[in-house]
């Protein structure tokens, strides 16, 4: 999708289509080159086609499928904001677990939700503090937080699942509110719309791309980079905490070990969706596409009786392939191969 057209091709098209059409074709080509969702869309189409033939029940029982998509996608949406700035937040899995435990430990349900969301914001701010103020690499800082917070979840919960005091709230939460849509899916859609508007229509959101694309240039242009990074990590922490709240409500208990596979699946969703790990490129729309394809795949595998172990292998392989086929990485690998060929040719020419 991102290959640059050769001048010859453009010329033939000029002759064939005339000037007006060329304007449109070029515009289309520029738009396509700007988009990053190509791989995600290809995977989604493949998954949908194969599933439609082999396991059509995935689409007829769409409530299950949508719930799974929302589970994977919500955390991935928050991650997208951080990855766009060229950073990583590995602590989301533990944030989810800790905020769930915090929520279940508070007797009142609304106070619990508020406390859990505040926990998420606090963890996000702490991550940002280590990355921005102290200057630690975000991979290692959030990895340390991942382990420390997992420990915290165990300590707070006494290493046992914590039951929700108000079970009825949990049951009410599982019921559909808008037609067949459950609150979980509704919250996911709302989070998606909010982030989409923030990242594409608002100035501070647009600046996330600048921070990820070229940080030095962003500093020089007067963008408050530190504040943007605090915002990004806090969005990620908040969204992960929201996912923890939703999980706890649906299961009517908080599981301190929650989040292991969420980490893998949410990263996979964002990266398949074309969010470039080095920052600056990507979209929440891509993340949505990635979450859709992974969710449908997971439900299809579950429905056809595939073990969880093999599902892990599937998603792990998809993530590995997604990272490798990241356009910049692929270009680096191709350039390496080409360079070695060129040097060989040169050596032969000299000899």
């Amino acid at each position: 999708m991102t290959e640059t057209p050769s001048p010859a091709a453009v010329q033939t098209q000029t002759i064939q289509l005339g000037t007006e059409a060329v304007g449109f074709v070029n515009k289309l080509r520029v738009t396509l080159a700007r988009r990053t969702e190509g791989r995600g869309l290809a995977l989604l189409m493949l998954v949908v086609l194969v599933t439609a033939f082999l396991e059509p029940s995935v689409f007829t029982s769409y409530q299950v499928t949508l719930g799974r998509v929302a589970l994977i996608g919500l955390v991935a949406l928050g991650l997208t904001a951080v990855i766009l700035m060229g950073e990583l937040d590995l602590s989301v899995a533990s944030t989810l677990a800790v905020s769930g435990v915090v929520m279940a430990s508070v007797p009142d349900i609304w106070l619990g939700v508020l406390a859990a969301l505040a926990t998420g914001l606090l963890i996000g701010a702490l991550n940002a503090f280590f990355v921005v103020v102290v200057g630690v690499n975000s991979f290692i800082a959030t990895l340390g937080m991942l382990f420390a917070l997992r420990g915290l979840a165990f300590v707070l919960s006494d290493e046992k699942p914590v039951r929700l005091t108000d079970i009825n709230a949990g049951i009410a939460f599982g019921a559909p509110v808008l037609g067949p849509i459950t609150p979980r899916v509704l919250l996911f859609v709302l989070a998606f719309i909010a982030l989409q508007i923030f990242l594409t229509r608002m100035r501070s959101g647009r600046e996330f791309y600048a921070v990820g694309g070229n940080r030095q240039a962003a500093v020089d242009a007067g963008i408050p980079v530190r504040r943007r990074m605090f915002t990004g990590f806090m969005i990620s922490g908040f969204v992960a905490a929201l996912a923890g709240v939703i999980n706890t409500l649906e299961r009517t208990a908080a599981d301190p070990t929650a989040g292991g596979t969420v980490l893998l699946a949410s990263f996979a969703a964002a990266i398949i969706g074309g969010v470039v790990l080095n920052g600056g490129r990507g979209s929440v729309l891509g993340t949505l596409i990635g979450a859709l394809s992974l969710g449908i795949l997971q439900v299809a595998l579950t429905f056809s009786g595939v073990q969880v172990d093999i599902q892990d292998i599937f998603i792990g392989t998809i993530l590995l392939l997604a990272v490798i086929t990241d356009p910049t990485n692929l270009r680096a690998a191709l350039a390496g191969v080409r360079a070695s060929f060129r040097s060989r040719e040169k050596a032969q020419a000299i000899a």
Partner: protein, 340 residues
């Protein structure tokens, strides 16, 4: 991969600072001192503290136990030091690698003999090293994400093939025998750790390959321009990690004479904690295998103190996670102070 320097680093570079190479810097820098030499003092203080205040630490059975538990983590950590020094953060998939090796050593040797199990384990280790190394070295993919996915692939395969069952070795088998040999209070596995540390120390400091690993860690682009095949360097670092993880799997299997797919959980961050607390920089280029050995002693003694004091698993994990963040913060602050 593009420069992943943090914002503060960039600003420091933009301000044009000099490097901390000792000669031009006379002012005493406490943070730099902590990140350079702190580990020796901390380890000594911690051991002294344990001997004086912790009930039951200074007993022979407990010291043997510390050695038993430190050996496999230590072997993983000294191997993983290569990945950290080559500025690739860490190899999360050691969790899967150690467990896979342990299951292979017990499961395969039960049916086909020890030699066959060594061959299979070696093959699997090379495969892990090659997949991680090619993805990170040639495709320039992020090491954390690559090894996260290979962890899930590896553990999934292991659980699927082994059926999630526990494997027991025979009571009189060679693996059991290896696990039982002790010289005084020191088990044989501790000597394995020592030998591997010495070998890897030699590789890192005295060979061409070790030099290129350190060079690649401090400046990737310069190393590439100097004509080094950087992809091979990264593959080498991951293969060394995988081979160490294989040996660690053997030692771990010999310790308990059993193997199960979840037996190496937590090895990734314990090993990382040992490496970072030892003073190897996550920014790459700086570090040593001997430092990692000290870090392993520190982490193992600390864990032992926590266990002896009856502190639960959750708090241990919290403490070690916090130590990682603290050690990295000290390193980052020291670098920034040095550049001013």
């Amino acid at each position: 991969m593009a420069e992943k320097e943090s914002l503060t680093e960039l600003i420091a570079i933009a301000e044009g600072g000099s490097h901390n190479s000792g000669l031009e810097k006379k002012r005493f820098n406490f943070l730099a001192w902590v990140s350079e030499r702190g580990i020796v003092v901390f380890t000594v203080v911690l051991i002294l503290f344990a001997v004086i205040f912790v009930n039951g630490f200074a007993s022979l059975p407990n010291i043997t136990d510390v050695f038993y538990r430190a050996a496999p983590i230590g072997i993983v950590a000294v191997g993983m030091t290569f990945v950290v020094i080559s500025a690739n953060y860490l190899d999360l998939s050691v969790v899967a690698q150690v467990a896979t090796a342990a299951v292979i050593f017990i499961g395969v040797s039960n049916n086909y003999g020890l030699l066959a199990s060594f061959a299979v384990a070696l093959l699997v280790a090379l495969l892990y090293g090659a997949v991680n190394g090619v993805a990170v070295g040639y495709f320039k993919a992020n090491a954390v994400i690559v090894t996260l996915s290979t962890t899930f692939i590896g553990l999934g395969l292991l659980r699927w093939i082994s059926g999630g069952s526990i494997f027991f070795g025979p009571e009189d088998g060679p693996i059991r025998l290896f696990g039982q040999i002790k010289l005084g209070p020191v088990p044989l596995s501790a000597f394995v750790l020592l030998v591997i540390t010495i070998i890897l120390w030699w590789v890192l400091t005295r060979t061409n390959f070790g030099f290129t690993v350190r060079a690649y860690g401090s400046n990737k682009e310069a190393t590439r321009l100097a004509g080094v095949n950087t992809g091979l360097v990264v593959i080498g670092a991951f293969v060394i990690t995988a081979l160490s993880a294989m040996v660690a799997g053997f030692v771990l299997a010999a310790f308990s004479n059993t193997a199960v797919s979840a037996m190496a959980d937590g090895y990734d961050f314990r090993a990382l904690a040992a490496i970072i607390i030892g003073g190897t920089s996550v920014f790459g280029g700086r570090g040593s295998v001997l430092r990692t050995l000290l870090g392993v002693i520190f982490v193992s003694v600390l864990t032992n103190i926590l266990v002896l004091s009856g502190i639960g698993f959750g708090f241990q994990q919290m403490a070690i996670g916090a130590l990682i963040v603290a050690a990295v913060s000290v390193d980052a602050l020291a670098r920034r102070a040095a550049k001013k």
